[in-house]
Amino acid sequence: MRFRDLVAVVMLAGLYSLIASGLFIVMDAADVAFTEAAVGAGVSTLLMLKTLTLTGRYKTPKTSRHIIAFVSVALTGGLLIYGTHDMAPFGSADAPSQNHVSRDYLENSISETGTPNVVTSILASYRGFDTLGELFVIFTAGIGVLVLFDGTGARSTLRPPLADHLVLRVVTRILIPLILLFALYVQFHGEYGPGGGFQAGVIFAAALILYSILFGAAAARRILSDDETRVLAAIGLLLFASVGVMTVLMGGAFLDYSVLTEDPVAGQLLGIILVELGVGITVASMIFRTFLEFEDRQCADEAQK
């Protein structure tokens, strides 16, 4: 079965992500499911649809056979499946992956960081340096989008396509504050329940994107201007990195928050909250800005026609 309608392809990919996030819940990964639902089924699908408005909805049909590709993919798959015979069966508690550092994290998370959500304590504290690196990747990719779309300087003045839907406008006006409130809850409750800076950032950006879809990019820019999103994206990253520098100045290792206050556990909690806030700010502003850039491109494209 070959799809020529790319909208169908993109919607199916979004559904695939949504089902995957259901599977993550079944496999006890609440934080991951949360992120996948917001990112994979939400923002990613939206950006792909936005791209389709710029590049065309239908693909040219082609009927060529790809024997070499098929054979090499089948061979790779066969080797991977052959390799599973060395793996511990699904769900076994004595698999090698369950019996190294993760046991320590589970046992010491409360006493060392005061954080019941072990995913958050690993993300922000035990493996904080990794997360800082990931945030740099997101920041750099965002800058890449800005650079690629640079040049015209056009700001979208498109009339939002849903502007006439009164019900949608009214419902959205009521929903957006709730979504923003939920994003803040996810941000600051991430130590105790599923959530954290990454999810909160995406949800926050989703609320702003929803506003921009219904009321236009110009209205959304009055909330957060381009200068503000650019500065905020850098501030989030700076906040994360400067917490690390602070810990070094106060005599600890880089991103070892225990030295931030007298009580090491309180210091860890403070550090985790600060770096998660940095993550949230950068992710939210970068995703929102990326969406606006696609919107501008669409406007410039339609002006050209």
């Binding site: 990919a13 950006l47 090499s72 699904f90 508690a93 589970l106 019941p116 990931e134 989008v145």
Partner: protein, 119 residues
């Protein structure tokens, strides 16, 4: 045997994604194939983290069997990095379309950018 079947299904999905990425000439479909591949890798990690009868790794009193939180952290950040790189790929596709007038690999002639559409 049943214990490994989960991984086989995941590898199957992964190979579907890989095949689309290699074979399909449409750049958007390539990105979709990459997403399918990527999400299957996420599934693989989360499946490895899973422990039979365990609970979500948020510590509560009275529960002492939790799934492995470390792969969850790796995948959580990978998802958000994934959307950033997908956005970059889509931006590249938009620019390719503007400069060359097509996003079909077979029609792309990289030697002659369409100067009319080139910003």
């Amino acid at each position: 045997m049943m214990g490994l079947a989960v991984y086989w299904v995941i590898f199957g999905l992964m190979m579907i994604g890989l095949y689309i990425t290699i074979v399909d000439g449409n750049l958007i479909k390539k990105v979709v194939g990459l997403t399918v591949f990527q999400v299957s890798v996420f599934m693989l990690y989360i499946a490895i983290a899973n422990v039979e009868g365990a609970s979500v790794p948020i510590l509560v009193a009275g529960v002492d069997n939790y799934s492995n939180p470390l792969p969850h952290v790796l995948i959580l950040t990978a998802i958000v990095v994934g959307i950033a790189t997908v956005a970059l790929a889509l931006a590249l596709i938009v620019r390719i379309r503007e400069s060359f007038g097509t996003i079909e690999e077979s029609e792309l002639d990289l030697t002659t950018p369409d100067s009319q559409n080139d910003h």
